[in-house]
Symmetry: D2
Subunit: 324 residues, 4 copies
C-alpha cells in the first residue's frame, strides 16, 4: 500500500467528537452561552455544535445519555479513494470493526472501528459544509465560516483519550489512521506514559495518556483552539463569572508548548481551550520528542505542578473509585 517511509495523507483531519452528558440541558447551555460554540441543529437526542471557523456542520455532537465520556471520534478522509484505502487497511488489521454506518445531519456514511480500549472511531469523506440559514449568521469576511461573536474558540483542535497500554494504542493509530507521533512520554519503567499524534501539519490532533483509574474507553478531554493566548485569559474570567469549575491553567505545557486552560463542563467532561501560536510540524522527517520522568518533575513549562485530578479524573467516572 502506501510507502511506510512517507507520511500517510489519507486522513485529512480530526472532524468531530461525540460527547455524552447526563445533564444535557446544562451542558448545552455551557457549550453555547459560556464556552462559545454555535448551535447548528438539535436532532434526536443530540445537539450539533461547531466553533466559529469550523467549516463542517459540527465538530461536537453532544448527546443525552445516562453517563458521560466520548461516544465516538470522527476523522475525515482526504478523498473517496483515500477513504477506501484506509478502510482496507483497517479491515486487514484485525482491529474490531463495526462496519459502515449511515451518516447523521453532519456527514455522509462512515466506517466505524474500535481501539483495544473500547473507544469507537469512524472515518468518512462525504460531509456537510455549514451554511448560514439567515443573513445575520453570515460572516462578513468570506474566508471565515461563521460570524464571529464573543470570545469563541475558532476550531476543533484535538482530544485526549485514556488507554491502559499506550504502546498498543500507538500501534492502533499508526495502523488505522496512518498517524505519526510528534512527542511522547517515556516512563522509567519502560512504558509509554503518553503519545501525541497527528495526521497533518498540526502538532497533534489526538493524545493518548495512560489510564490510571481502571476505566474503560474513557475520555480525558476535548480541546478547541483560540486565535490568541489573550482569548484564553479572557475566557478564564468568563468561566469564573459563570461559576464553571476551572481545574488548572492558564499555563503553558512543556509537552507541545501549548498554552492551556482546563475546565469541567456541567456533566463533568473536561474541556480545554488551547493556543499553539505559530507552531506547526512541517518537517517530513520530524523526530518525535521524548519527555522523561526527570523532565516531567520540572512541572509544566513555567514550573506549575500538575494538579492531582489531572492524573485521575476522566469520563465516565469509574464506579467504585472516582475521585470527586
Amino acid at each position: 500500500m502506501s510507502d511506510p517511509t512517507e507520511p500517510c495523507h489519507d486522513i485529512a483531519h480530526l472532524g468531530h467528537v461525540e460527547m455524552l452528558t447526563d445533564r444535557f440541558e446544562e451542558s448545552l447551555d455551557f457549550f453555547t452561552r459560556v464556552y462559545g460554540l454555535k448551535l447548528s441543529a438539535i436532532a434526536g437526542e443530540s445537539a450539533y455544535l461547531r466553533a466559529w471557523d469550523d467549516y463542517e456542520f459540527h465538530s461536537l455532537k453532544l448527546t443525552r445519555a445516562e453517563t458521560t465520556g466520548v461516544a465516538h471520534i470522527g476523522y475525515r478522509a482526504a478523498s473517496p479513494a483515500a477513504l477506501a484505502r484506509r478502510v482496507a487497511a483497517i479491515e486487514a488489521s484485525g482491529y474490531k470493526t463495526h462496519g459502515w454506518q449511515d451518516g447523521d445531519p453532519g456527514h455522509g456514511r462512515a466506517f466505524r472501528f474500535e481501539d483495544p480500549f473500547g473507544h469507537v472511531f469512524e472515518i468518512y469523506y462525504d460531509t456537510v459544509w455549514w451554511q448560514p440559514q439567515e443573513e445575520a449568521e453570515r460572516a462578513v469576511l468570506k474566508n471565515t465560516a461563521s460570524a464571529f461573536s464573543g470570545a469563541a474558540p475558532r476550531r476543533l483542535d484535538h482530544l485526549n483519550l485514556l488507554a491502559s497500554d499506550v504502546t498498543e494504542f500507538r500501534r492502533f493509530m499508526e495502523t488505522c489512521l496512518g498517524s505519526r507521533v510528534t512527542e511522547y512520554i517515556q516512563l522509567d519503567n519502560g512504558r509509554l506514559g503518553g503519545c501525541w499524534f497527528t495526521v497533518n501539519n498540526k502538532t497533534y490532533d489526538l493524545a493518548c495518556t495512560e489510564e490510571h483509574g481502571g476505566g474503560h474507553a474513557r475520555l480525558h478531554h476535548v480541546t478547541y483552539a483560540t486565535d490568541q493566548r489573550e482569548d484564553i485569559l479572557r475566557a478564564a474570567d468568563i468561566f469564573l463569572q459563570n461559576g464553571v469549575h476551572i481545574e488548572t491553567g492558564p499555563h503553558k505545557h512543556a509537552v507541545q508548548g501549548t498554552f492551556f486552560l482546563y475546565v469541567w463542563e456541567p456533566a463533568g467532561n473536561r474541556v480545554e481551550l488551547a493556543n499553539s501560536g505559530a507552531r506547526l510540524i512541517l518537517a517530513p522527517d520530524w523526530q518525535p520528542v521524548c519527555w522523561t520522568e526527570a523532565d516531567r518533575r520540572k512541572g509544566q513549562a513555567w514550573g506549575l505542578k500538575t494538579i492531582e485530578s489531572f492524573h485521575t479524573h476522566g469520563t465516565p467516572p469509574v464506579k467504585s473509585r472516582e475521585e470527586t
Copy 2:
C-alpha cells in the same frame, strides 16, 4: 502520476528564500539585531539566517549583490521518492530547468527550475537540521529549535512574487509543486489579480500578484510568522525606535485574514511580520475563495485603504520608473 483529484503531498513545505542586497552589512544588522533572526553562519558572500523555531539551518540566505530582490526559492520535498516524482513532473512540463545543483551549508543537492517570469525555484530533500554550537544557544524546551530571545519571529511563513500573468504563474505552481490555490483575486477584466498557494495545511506559503511596474522576476515581500498578534504590535515599536521604514500596518488583511506589518529592510526589500491565529486549511476539498474588485474597494479587513507603494514597490527596482 498522482491522482489529480487528491492533494499532492510530494512537497512538504517552503524551506528558504535567497534575498539579494546591495547593502549587505546594513541588511544583516537589520535582520539580526532588529527583525530578530538568528545567524547560523556566514559563508562566501552569504549570511544564513533562521527564525527561532525554524528547524533547518537557514530559512533566509542573505547574499551580497549589486541589486536587490530574490535570487531563488527553495521548497523541501516530503521524501527522496517524492523529490524524484516532482523532478520527473517538472522535466516533463516544458518549464525551463537548471538541473541539479550542489547544496550549500544549509542543505544537500537541489533541482533548480524557473517560472516564466524569471524566478528561480529549487526542490531538495536532504537538509541540515540546525544544531546549537554552544550551550547558551540550546532551547530549554526541547520541542523548540533555538533559544527564544526578544520579539523574534517564530518561523518562515511565506513569500510574495510578482508576475505579469498570474494565471500562467498558477499553472506553473500547480504543475511543478502540486500547490493548490486557497484564495484569489478576480479582476473585472477577467485576469487574475493575485493567487495564494499552499502545499500543506498552511493557508498559504506563496502568493503571486500582478506585476505593474514592468519588472522581471521581482519580489514583493518575504514574511515570517509570529506566535501572537501582540508580537507584531511590539515589533512596530521596535521598528519605530530603530528608524526602520514602516510601510503599512499593523492591520488585518481581508484576503486570508492575516494580521500584518510591512517594513523595508535597508536595501529596500519588503519584509513582513504576520500572524494567522489558529487558521489552517484542513478541508481536503477546500474551494478557493474569490475576491472581486468590488470586495477590494472596501479596503483591508478593518477598512484601511491599501497604500499606493504596495502596488508599485518591488525589488529589484525597475530602472526607468522606480517609485521611490
Copy 3:
C-alpha cells in the same frame, strides 16, 4: 485659594458624558449589543449606560434629540468641600454659569457652567454607586463593579471637544477644573492645535482640538478604555461583523501613545476604544510634551497618515458644509 504651584486635586475624575442622538433606538442597540456598555436604566428620553468597571450608575447618558453631539460633561469633585471650592472659583471666573441643577438617576445636585465655545460642564459630588439588581449581574470578583461579559470596555476614559480657540479653552479648563496640560500641539502659526488635560494621574481625561468646520459646541469623540490592546483588535472584528463604520485604526497615536480604534455610532457620533498600557502621569512636576507640525507630518506613531475625516467630522454636523 489653592497654591498655584501645586496640582489641584479638587476634581477627582471625569464622571459622565451626555451624548445626543437622532437615532435613539439604533444608537442604544449599538452601545449595548455591539460596543459593549451595560444598561443601568432608561428614564425619560435618556438611557443611562456604564462600562463593566465604572463604579457610578452611568458614565454615558444617551439622550433622544433632534441632533447629535454632546449635551453636557460631568466631573466628580473629590469631596463636598472641594466642590464648594471649585464652585467659588468658577463663579469668580466670569465664565457663564447655569447654577445648581437637580441631579438625575445617576447623581445628586450639580453645578453647571459653560466654556466660551458652548460646551456645558457640570461638577457634582453626591453620586449613585451602581448596585446589581439581580444575582446574575453581580461580579464574582468583588473588586470589580459589574459582571464582565464579552469584549466590553472597562471604564470611561476621556472625551475630545472642538473649540475655535484652544488657548482660550485651556484657560477655561485650568480656571474652572484645575486641570493640568500633559501634551499639546504647537502650530507653526503660533496657535495651539490641541491640548490634552488631566485632573488626576490619568494621562488625559479631556482633549480639545481646533474646530475647522465652523461648528459650535461640537464633540469630536468619546472614549472608553479597554484592559488590553487585544480587546481592541477583537473589537475591530466585532465592529466589522456588525456593519459599524470603522473610521481609522487600530493604530497607535504618537501623541499620548494611545492605541486607538475610532468608529461612528449609528447617529454619527464618533466613539473610540483605547488602551494606554501602564502609562500614568505620576510626576508632580510633569513638563507638557510639545508636538510641532514637523512632528505631526511623520503621521501616527507607526506612520499611518491621519484620515481626512478626522480633521473635519464632528457632531452635530455643520449645516452647510458637513463632510458626509
Copy 4:
C-alpha cells in the same frame, strides 16, 4: 493639618526601592539582561536602574551587601511645601526618624524615618530626571522616557513588605504618608492579614502582609508594571530560558485583580512583573474591599492554590528557620 475627610495628595508616588544583594554581579546581570531594567549608573557599591518609562534617574538601587532584602523605600512628595507638611506630620507622630540625608545620584535631600518593623522610608522632592547620554538611548516618541527594547517592564509599580502587625503598619502609612487603603484581608482571628495602600490613583503602590517567619524589616517582593498581559507571558519564556526560578504564575490575583508572575533574582529577592489592565481607583470615596479567609480559600482568581513558599519566603532569610 489636612482635612481628614479628603485624600492626602502631599505624596505624589512611590519613587524607588533600595534592594540588597549578596550576589551583586549576578543580580545586576539578572536585572539588566533578563528582567529588562536599564542601567543609569554604577556609583559606590550600588547600581542605579530604571524601567524604560520611569522618568527618574532610578527606581531600583541595587546595593552590594552581606545579606538581601530592602534597605530603604523612597516616595516623592508633590511639591516642596508638601514635603515640609509631611515632615512635620512625621515628626509629630512619634515614629522613629533618621533626619535629613544627602541625596544620591538619583535625587536631592531626603527625610528618613522608620516603621515599627524596621523598614526605612524616605521622602524627597528634588529629583534627577533621567537624560539620555547618547543618541541611541533617546526614545523616538518624546512622551516616553527611554528607548524601548525587548520585553522590558515599563515602570516601577509597587512593593510588598512584611510586618508582624499589619494594623500597626496601616497606622504608620496613614500617619506618615497619608496613604489610603484600597483592599485588605480580614482574618478570622480579627487581625489584618494584609493591606494594600495607595497615595494616588494607582490601585496600590505598597502592600503589607503578615510576617510569619519571625523576620525583621523584611521584603516580600518588588514589582514593575508591564504594558500588556502578553508581556508577562513572554517574560515567563525568557525567565525559563535563562534558568530563573519561577515561583508562581502567570495567573491573576483575586485581590486587586493583578495579573502576576513571581520569580527570584539570583540573591533570592522575590521580584514580580504585573499588569493591572485599565484598573484605577478614581472614586474619591472608595470603600476598601474586604477579603475574608473564606474568600481566600477559593484560591487566586482562576483557582490556583497559593504556593507554600509565598507565605514563608522573604528577604533577608531568617537565620534559624529559613525555608530554602
